[in-house]
Subunit: 214 residues, 2 copies
């Protein structure tokens, strides 16, 4: 009976908030809470209640004054909106320390992201075990993607290798990339790239620390 | 002879761009390039040349039309502005897979972030080696911070433990935190917290993938 949301009406800027709502709502569900008001939720996550009501309005007006929102229904709607009602197949390219740690990171599989393969270019690590399987040569990536659906590539190669690696992933048909290499990469328009840049985050901290001590 | 920049005039929103400039300029220096124009730099990093000139104007007007900017001088000014001309002492709290991987991540030390200690609350890992030393009990954090300067905490504990861990770090005098736990934490105003939320980044990808396939 679920009404289909028109996802194109949900702006991308709301995605981090939706992720925050989802996390908090799942926590509430785990504690047996069945309904929550926008006001209470606002206090829990330090957001404005009007903003929350506006965000939830994308899923239809099912909050009831004095009663609140149904926690389970909100969870279902947000998870569907975020594309989490299905499983996404993920590969990791770059089997160094970060790649190997990510391969073992449980947080991903809990959200429906399934690691289906791990790749590297170095003969030193190709064939090594990463827990769920063995590291393949990156030269096999196209063949691998032709044989099974791969939705997302996590790229954990050094900066100088990132563009070439992502070009190869795109050529193999992958259209979503999470790039951990500290370098801006260029891709065709229909490919979405998100970047996690640990060095930049540290620079934010040192910038503020240094300013504070002036 | 270095003129002191008034850092309070540099807005925080420029920090990620400054990090990008610094990376590219160091690459150019490594290739022996001594001068670069805003136009050439703009092409290399896919930014508007006027934006680059505006950002560089915080460091004084030393670009020369037709000659460009001195690469080394820009590197010095940006590194100083980002607080990278000195070393920052870092601790990692949470010696799981992600914490251990970060302890071995060379990118940090290359930028002047020095890992001085690693902490965990689990008897299973306290005392274990993490490369540069042994994991300490988080109960020793305050004493540790009293005995030596600790500037930054990388927090890689599970979500449910993050707020308590960060409260403890703040009580120990740490004023800059990079939080990898997928939960919003609250701190006093003079503490800066940056968050790296891998699950949210993946949700961005699934949101777009799912929308693309509608």
């Amino acid at each position: 009976m679920a009404r289909r949301i028109d996802k194109s009406s949900v702006p991308a800027v709301t995605v981090p908030r939706l992720a925050t709502y989802l996390r908090k709502l799942r926590e509430l569900r785990a504690r047996g809470v069945e309904r929550v008001s926008s006001k209470d939720l606002a206090q829990m996550i330090d957001l404005n209640a009007a903003q929350i009501r506006k965000d939830f309005s994308y899923f239809g007006e099912f909050g009831t004054r004095g009663v609140g929102y149904e926690v389970q229904r909100l969870i279902d709607e947000i998870a569907r909106c975020l594309g989490l009602e299905r499983t996404w197949n993920v590969v990791i390219i770059g089997a160094g320390l970060l790649g190997t740690a990510l391969a073992r990171y449980r947080g991903f599989s809990e959200q429906g992201f399934r690691l289906v393969g791990m790749f590297d270019s170095s003969a030193r690590v190709i064939g090594a075990s990463y827990g769920a399987g063995r590291v393949r040569s990156v030269a096999e990536l196209e063949e691998f993607c032709a044989a099974q659906t791969v939705d997302i590539a996590l790229v954990t190669v050094p900066a100088h290798a990132a563009q070439g690696t992502i070009d190869r992933a795109v050529a193999a048909g992958i259209t979503a990339v999470l790039n951990f290499a500290p370098i801006k990469v260029f891709t065709p328009k229909d490919v979405i790239v998100r970047q996690v840049d640990l060095s930049s985050e540290l620079m934010f901290l040192s910038f503020h620390l240094d300013r504070g001590s002036d």
